[in-house]
């Protein structure tokens, strides 16, 4: 039991709380979340990402300062709330993280396939997350407005919608099983309805986020990866078409939502 000291908090029913606590529990949780907002450890990752963005690295000893995230080379502010989008150079719709890997490959000479294969939180993947945190933070307070002018962007939205509703696995779950209706929750966690704009700073507009439960910084790729794990699906590849399609679906639906990323989450 001792060995699980911290892990146990996330794994087991720790306390059967008295019935009278029920009415105020939502308020108490809100109070707890409020207390954590001031001093979000995501700031540490944002600072690290900023340093990485400006640092000359890789075989080409270059910084990422000329990386085109969709608004022109080097433009960071505002890029996050328009991703995923289509890029002419790669002829693909890319999300923030896969686009960062493209820049790390083209500008710095790092191996994109190697990075995609690296587990989350290790090596260059850790850097991708920090960079994504930095780029997202530069759009804090801006509203999502993904471009849909390109046919490929519209096609990815349509694929994403189908991916969102795709049921499978031993539990018959799809994304929609949990995120397809208003006002639902798992345990005490509110589930945003991702078929529409779920509100400012909710759902797509809240990631990357610092995860309190494990002290890790998670980008949208890892957020989706763990959703699929809990959906009891096989393992989605980093930057795979399904993950970018479903991100496009959520991002377009979130049009008008204010980004609070990087946020802090349970």
């Amino acid at each position: 039991m001792k060995a699980l000291w911290i892990g146990a908090a996330g794994l087991m029913g720790l306390a059967l709380l008295p019935v009278q606590a029920q009415k105020s529990s939502a308020d108490a949780i809100a109070e707890y979340r409020k207390m954590l907002e001031d001093g979000n450890p995501a700031d540490l990752f944002e600072a690290k990402g900023e340093a990485l963005w400006k640092q000359k690295r890789g075989p080409k000893n270059a910084s990422l300062e000329s990386c085109d995230l969709g608004k022109g080379p080097g433009v960071v502010k505002g890029a996050f709330v328009e991703l995923p989008r289509h890029f002419v150079d790669t002829k693909k719709v890319q999300d923030l993280e896969s686009r960062l890997v493209t820049c790390m490959s083209t500008l710095q000479g790092l191996n994109a396939d190697e990075i995609a294969k690296t587990p989350f939180g290790r090596g260059e993947q850790e850097n991708v997350t920090a960079l994504a945190t930095y780029v997202a933070a530069a759009s804090r307070g801006l509203r999502f407005n993904l471009p849909q002018a390109h046919a490929e962007e519209r096609r990815m939205y349509e694929i994403g919608k189908r991916v969102f509703y795709f049921r499978g696995g031993p539990y018959d779950f799809s994304c929609a099983s949990c995120h397809g209706e208003d006002g639902k929750r798992i345990r005490l966690q509110d589930l945003p309805n991702l078929n529409k704009n779920p509100g400012d700073g909710i759902g797509f507009a809240a990631w990357p986020a610092y995860r309190v439960s494990n002290g890790q910084m998670w980008g949208m790729q890892l957020r989706l990866n763990d959703c699929y794990r809990q959906q009891r699906f096989p393992y989605p590849g980093f930057g795979s078409e399904a993950t970018i399609a479903v991100s496009t679906y959520m991002g377009v639906n979130a049009k008008g939502a204010e980004s609070i990323a990087p946020s802090i989450k349970r």
Binding site: L11, M12, G13, L16, L17, P18, V19, A21, Q22, S25, H86, A149, H150, A151, E152, E153, R154, R155, E158, I159, R162, V163, Y165, F166, R167, G168, G169, P170, Y171, D172, F173, S174, A176, S177, C178, G180, G183, K184, R185, I186, R187, L188, L191, N195, Y228, R229, Q230, R232, F233, P234, Y235, P236, G237, S240, E241, A242, T243, A245
Partner: protein, 216 residues
């Protein structure tokens, strides 16, 4: 001033549209097909979670849309699901509600980080979606509240013939929820081999045993 030939204008306009990506979308059926291809290409085996989990059966495929399937498909899914229900050996429906509560609390099992897919390593995940014992305030709301499940349905003695329909329905719902609602959000605990007969009996007891805290 040079005038442009209408044909030249058309060519230019087409090129501009193509450059801007203003081409038409594939048909809905083509998009369905492309989605299946994208899913297969995007996922890989990890631990016990193999890509064959993406091979959809009739119900999974028919319920993968915001639009509910047609009545005929619904009827077919429900009748085929009903036929899969394995009724408990010896007609014993109830186990130990204490074990049932533990299973209801346990949200683990069947992910790629779980070592084994055996029922003994799986939880029943109930509190993720349902209120059950009111003492547990951390419950989900995807499914209905199950507080007083047996009591509200007048089950005071599970061996009583009057209780048989609700006892059987509950077993069937746990075994294969799709027998009663084709696109139910609830996993098919018996049919998919998630829980053993004994584990299902324990969950049954949590819901139906008059002594269970759920029915106080």
């Amino acid at each position: 001033m040079q005038t442009l030939h209408p044909m030249k204008i058309l060519v230019v306009v087409t090129m501009v549209l193509a450059l801007a990506g203003c081409t038409s979308l594939p048909s809905s059926a083509e998009l369905d097909q492309q989605t299946v291809v994208a899913m297969k290409a995007s996922f890989r085996d990890q631990g016990i979670a193999k890509v064959d989990r993406l091979n959809q059966d009739l119900g999974q495929r028919a319920c993968s849309s915001p639009v509910a399937p047609g009545d005929d498909v619904v009827k077919r899914i429900e009748s085929e699901s009903m036929a899969t229900i394995k009724w408990p050996t010896g007609g014993r429906y109830l186990g130990d509600w204490r074990e049932g509560e533990k299973l209801a609390q346990n949200g683990r099992g069947m992910t790629w980080t779980d070592a084994s897919a055996a029922p003994k390593d799986n939880g029943a995940n109930c509190y993720n979606c349902h209120q059950i014992d009111k003492k547990e305030i951390s419950f989900g709301t995807i499914g209905p509240s199950l507080w007083n499940y047996g009591k509200l349905r007048g089950v005071s003695d599970v061996t009583d013939a009057a209780a048989a329909p609700i006892v059987q329905y509950t077993w069937g719902k746990l075994w294969n929820s799709k027998a009663y609602a084709a696109c139910s959000n609830m996993p098919r605990f018996g049919h998919m081999g998630l829980l053993s007969e004994d584990q299902l009996r324990d969950v049954m007891a949590l819901l139906l045993d008059p002594k269970s805290p759920v029915n106080q």
